[in-house]
Each structure stands twice: as C-alpha cells, then as structure tokens.
C-alpha cells in the first residue's frame, strides 16, 4: 500500500471526508454502547434528542459550545503560527478572574461600559499569561509546550488562593467562590428562560474577525508564513519574535474572553470548577476544524452536542456519560484519517 498526494482535493471530498468521519466515529462508538447493553437505535435517538431535539436542548448545546468556540479559536490562532499554546485552560481562568475583579462591587456603571471593560480586562489577562511563555520561547528558546501546560496548574492554584482569600464572597458561607459580578456586567439572555447568553454572539464575531485576520491581513500572512516555514519567513525579512508575540496576544486574549463569557454569561462568579477542561477541549476543537477559524464554530457545536447529548442519553439509558469523551476521541481519530484520505490517494500495490 502506498500513498500518493492528490494535487488538490475536490470540493465534494472536502465536505464528505469530515462528514463520513463522524458517521464512522458514531458507528465505532456503537460497539461499547452495545456492550453496555443499550439498544442502539434508542440510545442514539436519545442522544440526538438531548442535544438538538428541542429549543431547550439546542440552547444548552449552544451554551456549551460558546466557551469551546473561543478556546478553539485561541488554539487555532496559536497553532497557525506554530506557537504550541496548551495553556488555554489557564488563560481562561485568568480572564475569568480579571472579569470578576473588574465587575465586582467596587464600582458599577451602565452595561455599555461594564461589559466592554470586563472583556478588555479578561483578554488582557489571558494575553499576559501566554506572553510569559512566549517571551521565554523567543528570547531563551524555552519549549512553550511545557511552560504553557504547567502554567495551567499554576493558574488553578492562584485561582484557588484568590477564591479562598482576597476575592472570596463573604456571603458564600466559606465556599471557595468569588464575589459575584454586578448585574450591569451580566451578559443578556439570547432566548428567554434558557441559559443561552450573548457570549455566543461574542464568540461568533470573534470567529469571523479571526478568519479575516488570518486570511486577509498582513499580520495573518505573517502568522501563516512563520507557522508554515519559519526559515523562509525569516529570510523574507519577517521578525519571528514579533509575530510570535502578536500571535500570543490574540490567542491568549481569545482564551481569556472564554473565561469572561463563562463568568458573565453562565456563572456570575469564579469557582475552581468554572471550566470542565474547555481549554484542553479547545485543542480538539481546533484540530477537528483543521485550524480554520470558521470551521471552529462547526466543530465546537459538534463537540458540545456530543457532550450534551451523551449526558442526556446517560440519564435516559443508564449508560456512562463518559461515552461522550469516547465519541469525541473517536471523531478526532477518524477525522485525522479522513484528512489523510482527502490529501492522499491510496494505492494498493
């Protein structure tokens, strides 16, 4: 068997490949599901119903997708320039903390002031957290995979210190949670009496802006060139360090926004379980989307639907909701294979 590169994958193949990858992933997930003793058709129907079957289910899925879009975009921006940011989780918490600091009771103003200042502060906090490992990389050659990953734990401990110390809510009866943000800072609901909030709009606008940045501007050209071939970028006169710093600000800022959106749209305060790993899931989202900013929206909604649907299926059928992790992992694997099939023609010699 040998692989021969295709000159350019056709448009049909480009859409058929990811679609069939998901079908194959669901088929493979049926094996453990059958072992768990669940009737397959009913189980998948329950899953579909729980994720997309009603207005409520849909809003839950989109609520779950919102932070995933933002962290997925953060990873996409960084990976495009081959800045291996594994620290979106920590940057998310940095953004969440900054949001609480800005929007707790010290001052209050109209939402038109509160929400933008919270977003700016959250993005800045996320950006600063990624700038530290980025500067260590560009100045001293320290591997950013390690530093961004480890900073996640540093950040979690810092959050723990803050929510049990200076930022702890005096009304929380000793629970480690921060003061809530003021009402003026809360993101408005998009659909009445659901959890879906304006953070989704922020995420969608961010996706469009990042797509334009990457594909239409000189800074995007620099990011892509540095990512695809740093030697050629340097030869052409680009400043690798500066491009990395710019990328870090965009990427860390987006992850910080995810934290702002969760605090201001869903929780209202910071706890240590604010994110069930949205930062790490952002990597999966970005890889599934093959580092396309607009594709991130689709893959984030898909992953959110799998999680929400599997939760609901778990409750209905009595199977473990860990099946969601399994389906997501299988989708990533089948998507990688699909990517290979789209780029290469397989010949049996």
């Amino acid at each position: 068997m040998r692989l021969e590169p295709r000159e350019s994958p056709g448009l049909g193949l480009r859409f058929a490949a990811p679609a069939s990858a998901i079908v194959v992933a669901l088929l493979l997930a049926a094996i453990p599901l059958a072992f768990a003793g669940a009737p397959l058709a009913t189980a998948y129907a329950a899953m579909f119903d729980g994720a997309l079957g009603s207005v409520f289910a849909l809003t839950e899925t989109l609520t779950r997708a919102t932070p995933l879009i933002l962290t997925g975009l953060a990873v996409t921006a960084a990976f495009r320039a081959k800045l291996w940011n594994i620290g979106a989780e920590g940057q998310l918490y940095a953004g969440a903390l900054a949001a609480v600091v800005i929007a707790s009771h010290a001052w209050s103003s109209s939402p038109f002031v509160m929400i933008p200042s919270m977003m700016v502060a959250g993005a800045a906090a996320g950006a600063v957290l990624l700038l530290i490992p980025t500067l260590l990389k560009t100045r001293l050659g320290v591997d950013e995979v390690v530093t961004t990953l480890l900073l996640n734990f540093v950040m979690l401990l810092f959050v723990s210190m803050m929510v049990e110390g200076p930022l702890q809510d005096p009304m929380s009866m000793g629970w480690p949670q921060s003061e809530p943000i003021v009402d003026e800072a809360v993101l408005p609901e998009l659909v009445p009496r659901t959890r879906l909030h304006a953070g989704l709009i922020i995420a969608l606008v961010a996706a469009v802006l990042l797509s334009l940045l990457i594909n239409r501007t000189r800074w995007g050209l620099e990011m892509r060139a540095v990512g695809a071939n740093a030697d050629a970028a340097r030869f052409a006169g680009m400043k690798i360090g500066r491009v990395m710093v710019f990328t870090a600000i965009i990427s860390g800022g987006l992850a910080g926004l995810a934290g702002v959106s969760e605090v201001a749209g869903v929780r209202g305060y910071v706890t240590l379980d604010l994110s069930p790993g949205y930062g790490y899931a952002g990597i999966v989202v970005a890889m599934l989307a093959q580092l396309s900013a607009l594709g991130v929206v689709v893959s984030a909604i898909f992953i959110a639907a799998v999680f929400v649907g599997a939760d609901s299926m778990g409750r209905a059928m009595g199977v473990s909701s860990y099946l969601a992790d399994l389906i997501v992992a299988l989708s990533l694997l089948t998507m990688l294979v699909a990517g290979l099939v789209a780029r290469y023609r397989i010949r049996w010699a």
Partner: protein
Amino acid sequence: MSKVAAAPVLRLTGITKRFGPLVANDRVDLSLGRGEVLALLGENGAGKSTLMSILFGHYTADEGTVEVADGAGSLKELRHGSPAAALEAGVGMVHQHFTLADNLSVLDNITLGTEGLWRAFQGRAAARRRLKTLMDDSGLAVPLERPVGTLSVGEQQRTEILKALYRGVRILVLDEPTAVLTPQEVNQLFDTLRRLTQQGLSIIFISHKLDEVTAISDRVAILRAGKLVGERETKAVDRGELAELMVGRPVELHGRDPQPRGVEVARLAKVSVPGPRGGMDLKSADLALFEREIVGIAGVSGNGQGALAALLSGLAQPSGGSFSLFGNTVTRFDAGAFVAGGVGRIPEDRHRDGTVGDMTVWENAILETYRDGANQRAGWMRIGAARDHAKGLIDAFDVRCPGPDAPIRLLSGGNMQKLIIGRVLENRPRLIVANQPTRGLDIGAVAFVQDRLLEAKRAGAAILLISEDLDELFQIADRLAVIHSGHLSEARPAEDLTKRQVGLMMAGEGQGAHAA
C-alpha cells in the same frame, strides 16, 4: 556496443512505470556490459531515479523485466520490488545523499547489516583484512577506525563505494556522485572507477553534467520525459548533440559578456561572521562589489559561503570589520531593510528559505514585499492586486504552474526558482546575492537563470554569484574568489585563473588560500 555484446551483466526490457497520469518510465530498454561505464543522462524528472529505483527494487515496474547475470554469466530475471534480491544479485547503489551513520566508524558502517544479529563484532579481524585488500585493489583509501562524521565528503563517498564492494557487487549505480566533490576529488573518483571497471565491475553513472559524462563513460543513454531517446558511444558523440538529446531542443549557454564596471556597491573590510556553534564561519574577509560586474565565489559547500550570503542578505551580523552597502556603513542588520534598500537575494535552498511550500504562488511572490503599499493598505492585503502581480511574474518569467492560487509546493524546482528570480529582479535590485542559483536545475532552466543574471548585470546590478559549479563560474563570472574554511581569497579576473588553480585553492592548497 562491443562490451555489451561480449558479456551483458544487466538487461532491462520494456520497463514502464506510471504514477497516476504521469508515465515516469515508458518502455525503457537498457543493457550493461561487463566492465562498462554506462552514463544515464537526463534532466530532473526525466525518469533516471525511477529507473534505478526499479532496478534496485524500491519500486515495482508496471511492465517489463529486469535481468541480472549470475556468477556464471547467464542472465536471470530479478524478483520485482525486492531490494534484498537486488543486493543478492550483486547490484549496489551509492545514493546522492549518503546513507551512513555519522557516529559509527567506517568499519562499522561498512559491516553494518552484513553480520548476523547475534554474531556482531565476531568477524571484525577478518572484515578488516578483507577491506585492506579491497582498498589496495581499488585504490580507495579510507581510515577504517575514524567516525564517519569526521570524514570529508570525498572520504564518505569512498566509504559508500567500499561498502558496496564489500558486499561483492558486480553492478554499481552512482547517483550524481560528483555533486559534492572538488575538481581534484572528481578526478580521483574517475581514476578509481576506471580501475574498478578494469577489474570487471560494471557501472551506471547517473548525471546531468555533460563534461563528466563524456570524461568517464563508454556509452551514454539519454532519457527524456521517461523515454529512452538515444544511446551513443561516448567516443562518437559531441556535447552539443548530447545536450540537444537531453533537452529536446538546442540549448545555448551564454558567456561572460564584460561591461565597463560602475561604482562600488558593497565593500567588506576584514569582516568576520560568527557561526552557530562558536568560532567564525567567515574570517576577516575583504571583498568589493561593483555595478555591472559578476563576482563568483568558488568553494566546496560548507566552507563559509552560507555566512557570506547571510551577511549580504541582512540575515547575519558581523562580529568584526566594516561592511558598507551603497556607500553607507551598515548598522541595521535587517533582511526587510536590505530588500527595501535594493538587495535582491536568491537563497541557496529554495524549499527551506525561498518559499513557504503550503502557501500559494501569489503569496510567495510577495513574500518579501507584502508590506509595500501596492500589496497592503492599513494592514488589509490587496489580494486582487497581489494576484495580478503574481500572474504578471508567471508570464514574464515563464513559471509553469496551475495558477497563482496553487500551493507553491506543487511546482518543480526549476519553476520555483524562476518565481524567486522574478520576485528578486522585478524590484530592480542594485546588488544581487545569488547563492547556488542553478543547483539541481536542468540545463534549460540553468540557461534561463544565467541569462537573467547576465541581463541584470547589463542593466547595472552588482552580482555576487556563489556556486559549486566551476564551469558556471568560469562561464559567467568576471572576477573569481575562492572560499575555504572561512577564508576568502582575493577576487581576481576570471581570465587570469585556471580551473586547476581554483580547484587547488578550493581544497585549501596553492596560492591565495590563507593558512588556516
């Protein structure tokens, strides 16, 4: 034909190999006589490597047979797609990029894979004795105990040949063996090959250099676009005919064309450039470049050419001496500023430094000028204008490609190089730094690149041409300097020098080369 008729040791019949729609080999018939040197001549992509890969079992032919003579001299069909069978039958190959382990000694490299897994190191004394005999018989001298990484390129190549001989090959395939050698090493290699053929070895010599082919071979087979377009006795053919057979049309290489030289464009005075691992890659170099003049730098790869090119391209900072460009002392070592100031750079490695493979042709066409007002406004790329500009380059420089939106990795090396040359020349640079601009190109593309450089020179540019190809340097350079282990000799008029002199200086001997 006499040697073939006497005792053929190899016969390829009707070899056809397709890769998708591409026919890499189209019904190729070839035979090789005992003790014969057959040159396989062809441009890049003509199908030479594919044919040899089939012979060696790396590829399976779609049609046709490979027959190799056994010890008794009768032809036996070789099993398809099996390198082990080829080795067994006595076919050996020395690849252009050596397949040696740098950290192992010559002896270990040669015996690697010939010993049983559980009996390693047992037959060393015998192996050493056998190798000594082989070295005496063939004239190939290599220090057996030295790690391969410490050897010169020539010695590494001799190690590769010894490795093949140690395995008892009767047919040796050499893929572009002279690309990495100095002229003296080439002569030494040819002496060795003649000696080996007298002892009965048959050799296939792959090349696209006409003078080497005529110097070493008994017979030439010419491949073009996958087809065998001719076979000639070397004695009875001239280089013009070979070139025409290879390219398919007459090729004319243009010569020096001296011009009255203009004002000084760049001057190095005692400039040193540090290397990546400490020490100086360029040691106290003096050089002056003038308008309407090509200064050639000869040297074996890795002797400081990279540092010299990087310095003049704005990619490296000197640690000593003074460097002036267009009359001003350079204080900002910034590639972007150099380009904007009028320096055109043709990089040594077009895949690594010249292009971003996954980006489109148009993006690569503006890679050095994307900040200009013509290509962006307030940060927004003017994609329409940039694509039109790329289309203009594609037409003007005859870049064969699917279009400006195709990823540049799909282009052949020659077309990639044409795009890079176009990108450089359309800025009308006053200084052009061309590092190995024709390396790996076929003769048609070589002529194209050389003509464009000569044109730029007539139009007033100063050109620094770094090349490993002495023929090229003597053909188009006005003055020549030699670089050896970081020392740059004085640049002298090319007509005052001979290839022999320059070759000795490249090896670090003779006048002009400073003591290291």
